[in-house]
Symmetry: C2
Subunit: 426 residues, 2 copies
């Protein structure tokens, strides 16, 4: 783990541009408060002690938040927030014991960024930030690995200030000097005076939230980053996820993951029932349910509400949607009696594809899609089967569909067994 055991989070700002009914760190984005995300990431990294510098007006808001979410934090009060965030940092000095992480209460940080930061020292900078409004961001100029200039209006900057620092208590000598010299002490002043070394990161998620536009952009990124990825087939990557993330972005603050799971299940069953009326419409609804199937997981992960119970339920319900839709399609298609074994094996195959990979995870405790990269290229994942189903139903090729499923799925099971063997006996 890391040598760093404490994190100081500056949360004394008033957040006037965001409405100001709650302090900015307690603003919910994609269903969770900014501070919740930061404290969760710190917990994941083994940093259990958080020091929050807050305005005393918001004391009860922060305390209720911490209690409700079972977080522990040490509160430090800043009665003069107008003296700047460098002054807020100075106030944390008595609670700090060694090297510490310094974070901004209104920034979102991916766990990967913080983990990377802990390998360095000083100000963490990003030469090519992907998730921020660069015009509004703080820029830095670097010489010999140290910051020589910092500010919002810097031309041709070398990198951008991520709002993440790894510091040690010697920084309080600098903050003390500055606090004695002047009324307002911004972090930029501290960085300039200390000529902090920089630690360069790249590609990882971080952003700050200053305006409603920032908030919308951050929500979109959080949902996009919540796409699970492993186990997604071609159709999912090219079509389904583009639509589902757009829906999730809209629903993440309106629906719980469980509501999304049951709604998607309902749409899937509706697809099966619709076969009685119009197999073409039913196939389209079935494909829609495949798109929606991404939403519950995206909402759950984006709002830090993912649970194994949700994953378990979703998997079992998916199997029932598949066999219900395919059964009803077979029933209304007036297939000859001799053809029914093909139907039965097509349905069984659609369950056994999932059975084989889940039973692998049960046996070995690892996700086969992560452990065996070749699995990602095997055709016949659920998103692909459902899309193929829609296309073949549109073309009126129902028997061809069942033949294809009956052969493709069991072949996929066989290949999965072979790949599993190769992995576990190599």
């Amino acid at each position: 783990m890391t040598r760093v055991k404490q994190a100081v989070i500056l949360a004394a700002g008033q957040g006037r541009r965001m409405g100001g009914r709650v302090p900015k760190p307690l603003l919910r984005i994609a269903g969770r408060e900014i501070l919740h995300r930061t404290l969760s990431a710190l917990r994941t990294l083994g940093i259990e002690e958080a020091i929050l510098v807050v305005h005393p007006d918001w004391r009860s808001a922060f305390e209720s938040f911490l209690k409700a979410n079972e977080f522990e934090a040490h509160l430090v009060f800043n009665v003069e927030p107008e003296r700047g965030n460098g002054y807020s940092l100075h106030l944390a000095r008595s609670a700090v014991e060694g090297e510490f992480l310094l974070l901004m209460g209104d920034h979102l940080y991916g766990t990967e960024l913080l983990q990377d930061a802990l390998r360095g020292k000083g100000l963490v900078v990003d030469p090519d930030p992907k998730y921020v409004d660069r015009d509004e961001s703080t820029k830095v100029r670097i010489r010999d690995g140290r910051v020589i200039e910092i500010g919002k209006r810097l031309e041709n900057p070398d990198a951008y200030d991520t709002g993440c620092f790894v510091l040690d208590p010697s920084i309080f000598v600098v903050t003390g000097e500055l606090a004695a010299e002047r009324e307002t002490v911004e972090l930029a002043d501290v960085v300039r005076r200390a000529q902090l070394p920089v630690h360069v990161v790249s590609g990882e998620f971080w952003t700050d939230v200053d305006t409603p536009a920032d908030l919308r952009r951050a929500r979109r990124h959080l949902v996009a980053l919540a796409v699970k990825g492993t186990g997604d087939g071609l159709v999912s990557r090219l079509i389904n996820r583009r639509i589902s993330t757009w829906i999730s972005e809209f629903l993440v603050e309106r629906l719980t993951p469980w509501q999304a799971t049951w709604f998607t299940f309902g749409v899937g069953l509706l697809g099966g029932v619709l076969n009685l009326v119009s197999p073409v419409a039913a196939a389209a609804v079935y494909q829609l349910s495949s798109v929606l199937d991404g939403v519950d997981g995206e909402i759950a992960r984006a709002s830090l509400r993912a649970s194994p119970l949700g994953g378990w339920t979703d998997s079992v319900l998916d199997r029932y949607v598949d066999i219900f839709y395919l059964s009803s399609l077979a029933l209304v298609s007036k297939l000859p009696a001799w053809f029914w074994p093909v139907v039965a094996w097509a349905l069984l195959g659609s369950v056994l594809v999932s059975y084989t990979t889940e039973r692998y995870r049960a046996a070995f405790g690892e996700d086969m899609y992560r452990a065996v990269p070749a699995m990602r290229f095997l055709p016949g994942k659920r998103d692909e089967r459902i899309f193929l189903t829609m296309v073949l139903v549109f073309l009126g090729l129902v028997q061809e569909l069942f033949w294809t499923l009956a052969i493709l799925t069991h072949l996929r099971v066989l290949l999965t067994l072979i790949l599993g063997f190769r992995r576990r006996t190599a």
Copy 2:
């Protein structure tokens, strides 16, 4: 873990009664050497340092065994094994550093017995041993928690000597005195002189292997103890396991678990093919495959060869046996076309019952049958479904069979989901 870090294993005897081609600790019982079982159990308990007292004639046999099985042990040589096993213990004195476990190289010890032993001190005794030939066992008389008499010919003994001791280096004062006084020093002499305290255990597996009859009895017990239990239905407990353990006892030294898995798969497929000739014979063969299904796991566990890869493969093959047999039964039964959806759902249910519990294990990393005791009482486990299939086919009730399976299995899935929810949200 335990304070005990070392185990001394007395393995200098010649084992003449067993043929004498290998030293007794290297005799294979149920596919694994006695010493392999002891060293595996010690490893499980966190006792990594074994001190083996052996005759120098067998040096290379022990060294090859240790190397081939990737065990580490310190060898101490006894060039005068005729001086008795108390003398062998004395020779181990320079390798011992603190409290240690003393074990006999020709005894089998269940891991539970050793674990229990580590909670006590002195000689571990069993007042009611279940797995030994009492006539041939060493008996003890106890007063005030100490051994006052020990020997094979003791009348009305208080307990039996398990051949397991927890000692400390002070015992070497006693062995040293005895070795100076007399030529032959048996452990019984040491126990008598030291008036060792006793630690009483009961019900756990331990036995010694002196004669070919002992060996056969030990093999039977090892196979019986290898029955997995969780997930077994009524039919398995009352019928299948009684037959399968009898078969496993015969095959454990003749077949690998993998051979048993593929053979059982072959018998299951044969059941499906036989439907073309005689559904009654086929149903009997299907039930036979259900009995044989226990054998691979029993052989694997009894011979310490159980592997997740074997479990994974066995599960997937079981699903294929079920759907192949039931498909072929449906095909030869000349069922009306409208009935085929019932067949399809019966087959799907037989897969989904297993899917739901395995997906639970994948999600939560725990066996649902262990975690939720009520699961054991839900009817519709595989052994029960197969037995029911045989009975209904014998009675000519094929449609009734498929109706029953179609309803019973999906109901079981629903109840599994409910029980899983109760467990994970309670």
